[in-house]
């Protein structure tokens, strides 16, 4: 048996969570460093996984397979394809930054906030989330995936509710109420989604058990059996089960109109936790659409595509419009994220190779860019103690470095060419145009709006006269720079040279497309023309 690299990648952060939680309460700093060490170790392991993954090789690599609950036909099956590898790596990269950014967030002694927040708990929970997300990306067994898909809600719930942001506009009681409201809303939305998926999972089991004799959840096996015809889903069954799965993923992703938990959750949690939500955990939703919805239920996916695409486009426009109107920095970013998730889903369900690889790339880029923007915003907010846009003004005069990084993050969010998101957004739009030109055109409007909300945000907060309460604002400290600088570097790198990532992604996307029995349509519009149109839009 080969070395269980994938398991170890997930186990290390989990073990880290246990170790961190076990650090004595008084030794906060030690706990932080322990957690960071484990996060970095995970990063190393993720890097090793990426290195060991050969893009042209088998579809699922580094596979592991053990019996787990034979009574349910559940196996402990891990394996990564190109998409998963990239996302694992993204997770592993982001978590150390999240930790560094939130270094003092859960430390009553280091901040003015005297609420009871155990430092060990905070870091342990982050590591736990990381472990669960990683294993969800790695698993090739539907049940295994489902278990962690659901289970990661609990640590996230505590992170949102227990370590929330103190910078809200109202009194302490009101904040506490808001916080727990946000946490419960987050949990209930996702739990309901998960439970609906549970019904679908059970339905899938019933179908496989009925047709194969023994129920199975193994993705490769199901695909194999479907390919050789031993397993056939009736149209009705396939559609219902697909809807069950898709509902859960759409809640998680989040897709309009199931998105309403996200602004609350992101608004009430601290910036690092918000990064965890939007850049890491939500990616599981889009990832699962790509992997499970499309591969397991190709026919149903095709059946549902029109509706989903429309919803995605609505999400793009709706998110962007609401972002424009926000007065709260984090909520603004949250709505921007909703808009971006619309793009990702659009790319996935456009069913073209450009669209899907664009969507995958978008997941990565969105992760990095949102992380950069949110973390910087977090620094900003914690300095002022407020997240209302109106409370800021002229920051670039007192804290130029802060303002600068904020600008870069913002530009990445509006997909400025040269930064990572541009490439992915471009690919998504191209992929959509080739099949659904009308939707592509409407989606492009989202970009215009993105420029609007980002630039307005920057203008109101950073430029103009220095407002009261901003005068003494300190610029970024070394720790904060260490957090932001690599992320910006990464954005630049991905914007200029995305090939290493796309190389890994593309074979997996092709496989997925072939599962859906779709091929790229013959081009109707030439690519340069689209690019030109896009440039004009800018």
């Amino acid at each position: 048996m080969s070395f269980p690299l994938l398991t170890v990648t997930a186990v290390v952060p989990a073990a880290g969570a246990v170790v961190t939680a076990a650090v004595p309460a008084a030794r906060r700093t030690a706990a932080k460093w322990t957690a960071l060490a484990f996060a970095l170790a995970t990063l190393v392991l993720a890097a090793v996984v990426t290195a060991r993954f050969s893009p042209g090789g088998a579809r699922y690599q580094l596979t592991e397979s053990h019996a787990w609950i034979t009574a349910f036909g559940v196996r402990y099956e891990l394996g990564v394809d190109g998409i998963a590898v990239v996302l694992v790596l993204l997770t592993a990269v982001l978590v150390p930054f999240v930790m560094l950014a939130g270094w003092h967030d859960a430390d009553p002694l280091e901040t003015s906030d005297r609420r009871w927040r155990p430092t060990q708990g905070f870091f342990a929970l982050i590591l736990l989330v990381e472990a669960m997300v990683v294993i969800a990306f790695e698993s090739t067994d539907v049940f295994l995936f489902y278990v962690f898909f659901e289970a990661m809600l609990i640590p996230m719930y505590f992170l949102i509710g227990g370590f929330g942001d103190q910078a809200g506009a109202h009194g302490e009681d009101e904040q506490a109420r808001q916080r727990s409201y946000a946490a419960v809303k987050f949990l209930l939305y996702n739990l309901v989604g998960g439970l609906v998926m549970l019904a679908a999972v059970i339905g899938l089991y019933a179908v496989t058990a009925h047709q194969l004799g023994a129920g199975t959840f193994s993705l490769p096996q199901i695909l194999h059996d479907r390919a050789n015809g031993t397993l056939t889903l009736s149209t009705t069954a396939e559609r219902w089960i697909f809807l069950g799965f898709f509902f859960a993923f759409a809640v998680k992703a989040p897709l309009w109109p199931l998105h309403t938990w996200l602004p609350n959750a992101m608004g009430e949690s601290t910036a690092p936790v918000a990064v965890l939500i939007t850049a890491v955990v939500d990616k599981v939703g889009t990832f699962a659409m790509l992997r499970y919805c499309l591969q397991l239920f190709p026919a149903a996916s095709k059946w549902a595509t029109p509706v989903i695409l429309v919803l995605a486009v609505i999400g793009i426009i709706y998110g962007a419009l609401l972002a424009v109107g926000q007065r709260d920095i984090k909520r603004l970013i949250a709505y921007a994220s909703i808009s971006h998730f619309g793009f990702i889903i659009l790319g996935i369900f456009a069913m073209t190779s450009q669209g899907q690889s664009g969507a995958t790339l978008y997941m990565v880029n969105h992760g990095v860019s949102t992380a950069a923007l949110l973390l910087v915003a977090g620094f900003l907010i914690s300095r002022r103690g407020s997240r209302r846009i109106a409370d800021f003004g002229g920051v670039q005069k007192v804290a130029p470095l802060l303002a600068g990084t904020f600008l870069v993050g913002g530009l990445a969010t509006l997909s400025l060419p040269g930064l990572g998101p541009f490439v992915s957004e471009f690919l998504v739009l191209v992929g959509t145009f080739t099949r659904y030109p009308a939707l592509g055109v409407i989606a492009t409007l989202g970009i215009v709006l993105a420029a609007l909300y980002v630039l307005v945000l920057y203008q109101r907060t950073m430029t103009g006269p220095v407002k009261a309460g901003i005068e003494g604002m300190k610029d970024l400290k070394v720790r904060e720079l260490v957090v932001v600088a690599p992320l910006i570097a990464l954005l630049l790198f991905l914007g200029v040279y995305p090939k290493p990532v796309t190389d890994v992604i593309n074979p997996a996307v092709k496989d997925t497309l072939s599962d859906v029995h779709r091929t790229d349509p013959p081009p109707k519009v030439t690519v340069p023309a689209v690019a030109a149109a896009k440039e004009n839009a800018k």
Binding site: A67, A71, W116, L195, A206
Partner: protein, 554 residues
């Protein structure tokens, strides 16, 4: 009148020759004592407990009772394991004691579960560290003197003298013995008698709370009146089934229902009357549904759970459910499979209503014990979905769910006993606010239990729920699964609410304190956590066990 033929009576040592000739010898019944040994051991321990009550000096009773209960239950469990190892759970399973008791997989499995539950419950019963020391005596959760009027002079005297009701241990053991027979009963008479054997001690136990005695007595009266009512209904159902089939043995009735029995003229007459079968079956099932607290028959649950002493509530919530579901399974799977087209639609309805009502009403509760009561109702609904599957996997999934649910419940109620204020246990939810700040460990443990109730993956509750839903889906009850999933979501809301209270709300200034338990309660709680996690992460062994045990003997 042949006087010489009769033996000459030489005082009272006569052998009645002539008379024995006249009355033919009745074939001696054959009782397999070895196979009934688990139950007999528990009964023996209970009787021993009564003797201890009668003869041991007061100071020695507590220790003696505890020792007898623990040893008795452990021995019973050992006997069960030995029986199972001998193959009585599978190949050698058969009906013992002249057709009264089945010794088969489900019976042994459920009995084992009940015995273990009782063992843990014994620990919580024996806990004496929680209540403040009264006049130099450590006291448990039970009334100093059950017969004394609450607040009366007699009670004060008893409290001063440091009396405790050590009778609770024999009562517990009697109840356990009844519960052990209940799912193993293979004729309706044994079913009824064992139902009463375990119900009567429970009625009494409910009335014996040390604090809030009026409430406790009220709970007991309610439980008793409704329980007696339901058992009367069950009995009438038995009468009708007997009238239909001319026998009360499960196998015999099943034969008649299937039409494979030899028809006597009387039988031909009664079997023509389907009303007997339908009404009788319905009434018996009603009696059992009362015990499992399924919805139209659930009215007693919240009040009784709230009023009873918390250790008793925990025991009841766990063990009664196990026993009653065992009996329900056996009844539906052995006696009435022939008419499943009649009872399945009804049970569908019951299951749906139970799940939904249990979950919805729980949302409005403000008392932890009532909340858990409604949650237990909702769980009864989930279990019913497994029962409806009518397949081996239905049986095994219900068995598995019962194990998972019962230990979590026990642990949950054990945690409730620890949170106390001046008036005893602080069960009002508002008092639990901020508990996570005051004692994070306890709150975390309770949160684990709640998450398990809610069915979050990696907990026992999830495995159980998955198992029953899976069985139901395979049995074609997909809509039921959907309803189950929806009510799980509703149920999740109120579990989460408690967690929110504990972790995200500021502690009240006059909030409760958390008592430091003795190892007894700690063991119960730790076991609950262990079962929650083990069954959540690696349930395979237990699923296998339940799967192997899932075949009824007939």
């Amino acid at each position: 009148m042949s006087a010489t033929a009769a033996a000459v009576h030489s005082l009272w040592t006569t052998r009645a020759l002539a008379d024995t000739a006249a009355t033919p010898a009745i074939p001696t019944p054959h009782i397999e004592y070895a196979q009934l040994s688990p139950v007999l051991i528990v009964f023996g321990a209970a009787v021993l407990g009564v003797l201890i009550e009668a003869f041991a000096p007061r100071a020695a009773r507590y220790a003696g009772q505890l020792a007898v209960s623990v040893v008795g239950l452990a021995a019973a469990f050992a006997a069960l394991v030995a029986l199972a190892a001998d193959g009585y759970a599978q190949g050698r399973s058969h009906v013992a004691a002249m057709g009264a008791v089945a010794v088969d997989g489900p019976a042994l499995f459920l009995q084992g579960t009940i015995v273990l539950i009782a063992l843990v419950a014994t620990f919580t019963f024996a806990e004496r560290r929680l209540d403040p020391v009264a006049h130099g005596n450590r006291v448990d959760s039970f009334a100093a003197q059950g017969s004394a009027v609450p607040g009366g002079e007699q009670e004060q005297k008893a409290v001063r003298a440091g009396f405790t009701t050590t009778e609770v241990f024999p009562l517990l053991l009697f109840a356990v013995a009844g519960m052990m027979i209940f799912p193993a009963a293979d004729d309706l008479l044994t079913l009824f008698v064992s139902l009463e054997v375990f119900s009567l001690p429970l009625y009494l136990l409910c009335a014996l709370a040390r604090r809030r005695r009026l409430m406790s007595q009220e709970a007991s009266v309610k439980y008793f009146l409704l329980g007696a009512f339901s058992s009367a209904i069950l009995l009438f159902g038995i009468a009708l089934l007997y009238g239909y089939a001319g026998t009360v043995s499960y196998g015999g009735i099943a034969d008649v229902v299937d039409g494979t029995a030899k028809l006597t003229p009387a039988l031909a007459n009664t079997t023509g009357n389907d009303a007997l079968l339908l009404i009788g079956g319905a009434m018996v099932v009603m009696g059992l549904l009362f015990k499992v607290a399924a919805v139209p028959f659930h009215m007693w649950t919240p009040d009784v759970y709230q009023g009873a002493p918390t250790p008793v509530t925990g025991f009841m919530a766990a063990a009664v459910k196990v026993a009653a579901f065992g009996a329900l399974l056996r009844l539906l799977y052995v006696v009435l499979p022939g008419m499943r087209w009649d009872w399945r639609p009804v049970m569908w309805g019951v299951a749906i209503v139970t799940m939904v009502v249990g979950a919805i009403i729980a949302v409005t509760q403000t008392d932890v014990k009532r909340l858990l009561a409604y949650s237990s109702i909702a769980h009864a609904g989930f279990l019913l979905t497994g029962v409806i599957a009518v397949s081996p996997s239905g049986v095994s999934s219900v068995l598995f769910y019962l194990v998972a649910y019962s230990f979590v419940t026990l642990g949950g109620f054990a945690v409730v006993t620890l949170v106390r204020d001046a008036g005893g246990e602080a069960t009002h939810l508002s008092k639990w606010a901020g508990l996570g700040r005051r004692s994070p460990l306890l709150a975390a443990v309770f949160a684990v239990f709640l998450l398990s109730f809610a069915g979050i993956p990696l907990t026992a509750g999830f495995s159980g729920k998955f198992a029953v839903f899976k069985a139901a889906a395979q049995g074609g009850a997909v809509p039921l699964v959907v309803v189950g999933v929806i009510s799980s979501a509703i149920a999740a809301f109120f579990y989460i609410r408690v967690i929110v209270m504990m972790f995200f709300q500021e502690p009240q200034p006059q909030g409760p304190t958390v008592a430091i338990p003795s190892p007894l309660t700690s063991t119960a709680i730790a076991l609950g956590v262990a079962v929650t996690l083990v069954l959540g992460v690696a349930p395979q062994y237990f699923l296998d066990l339940a799967g192997k045990a899932g075949v009824f003997v007939r």
